[in-house]
Symmetry: C2
């Protein structure tokens, strides 16, 4: 599925202003029409260019989706890389990072994520693309948690695996709710998510030696 | 795949054997093709009937989806209604109920749920249908938690609202993962979800009088 454009984009790292304009336009079109219904013509019109010109940048809808996913992945990776153990509480930094992605982003982002997940559930290529983003998030979370354990901010016997899986499921569920419910209160739900994160970080512990799993 | 409650539901709701066969066929077709691509002809073929005959039972794909949702809603409501405070730990009963829906159901159910959520994110009619199911789940959970608080099984100062929202987000996230990841370990993820549920039930408490929210 990965077309030459994507490879060029990967090698090049930086997205041209035109690529960015197209991806932004595609996000609006996909959120409005669903990307099953949306056409390359719709995206071209939204981006204010001719279809022929659009095809010079992205060869297909799938290439656009891959470009959107890669852009998001890069931004997320950069956000996690910016977490700094020397900069105070890692849980505070993690919460601030999470709120930016969960609360500050427009609802359209959540709608697109849900459309892509739905497609990924039946399309192995799209599932691999999602897995790439998920790995970036999980690795970033895992590094932050490891740092917080090392500094004593989190309990040394925190069950990282379960803790991260629980947080990850909540974040996915958050996106679902934000996409589905037009009147979703993202700030309040984020309060819940981060209260749960902090609570679980204190009690989701590894079983003590020889003891049963909690 | 259908639990015994379905038979009671048939009798109660007047859903004919033919309706059930169509809904089952539609679930398989929608999971396989996505319901955007699936046609009434596909459903008729899978159900082993003529399109003309199918239209006597359901007038449209949307009517089939509404039928599927109503069937699920009724089953979930019946499951929650069967929780019995006199029958021992409500959290144990809730976990058993949850595992039936999260683990025992085939992956296709999660894929369909994700397709419907994606549709609901852009279709207010579908969003209302989802909200109906969500209300049934939330009300069932809330009643179980209230019962467990009344019996002393859960802390009297448990913050029900946040606790339920956290559980609900995790369950939604669980469905996403099950739908997206072909090799998803549903049993292990359910272990995480219910460990988190039990942990949060002990620590996600209302702020003490005059104190700050935890």
């Amino acid at each position: 599925m990965l077309p030459p454009q994507t490879l060029a984009f990967d090698a090049d790292r930086g997205l041209s202003e035109r690529h960015i304009r197209i991806l932004d336009a595609a996000e609006r079109v996909f959120a409005r029409n669903g990307f099953h219904v949306a056409t390359m013509h719709d995206v071209a019109a939204e981006a204010g260019m001719s279809p022929g010109n659009l095809y010079r940048y992205f060869s297909s809808k799938d290439a656009i989706i891959a470009g959107m996913a890669e852009r998001d992945r890069s931004l997320i990776a950069a956000d996690f890389a910016a977490l700094d153990p020397a900069g105070g509480s890692l849980m505070d930094q993690l919460e601030a990072l999470g709120r930016r992605h969960l609360v500050d982003e427009p609802r359209e982002k959540a709608i697109i994520a849900l459309q892509i997940w739905a497609e990924a559930s039946r399309n192995p290529e799209m599932a691999r693309m999602c897995a790439g983003i998920d790995s970036t998030v999980i690795e970033g979370l895992a590094a932050a948690v490891a740092g917080a354990k090392a500094s004593g901010e989190l309990p040394a016997n925190l069950d990282d695996g379960r803790f991260l899986q629980a947080i990850f499921m909540m974040a996915d569920g958050f996106f679902c709710r934000k996409a589905i419910e037009a009147d979703f209160d993202a700030a309040a739900a984020a309060d819940t998510l981060f209260a749960a994160m902090r609570a679980l970080a204190q009690v989701m512990l590894l079983p003590s030696n020889g003891g049963p799993a909690s």
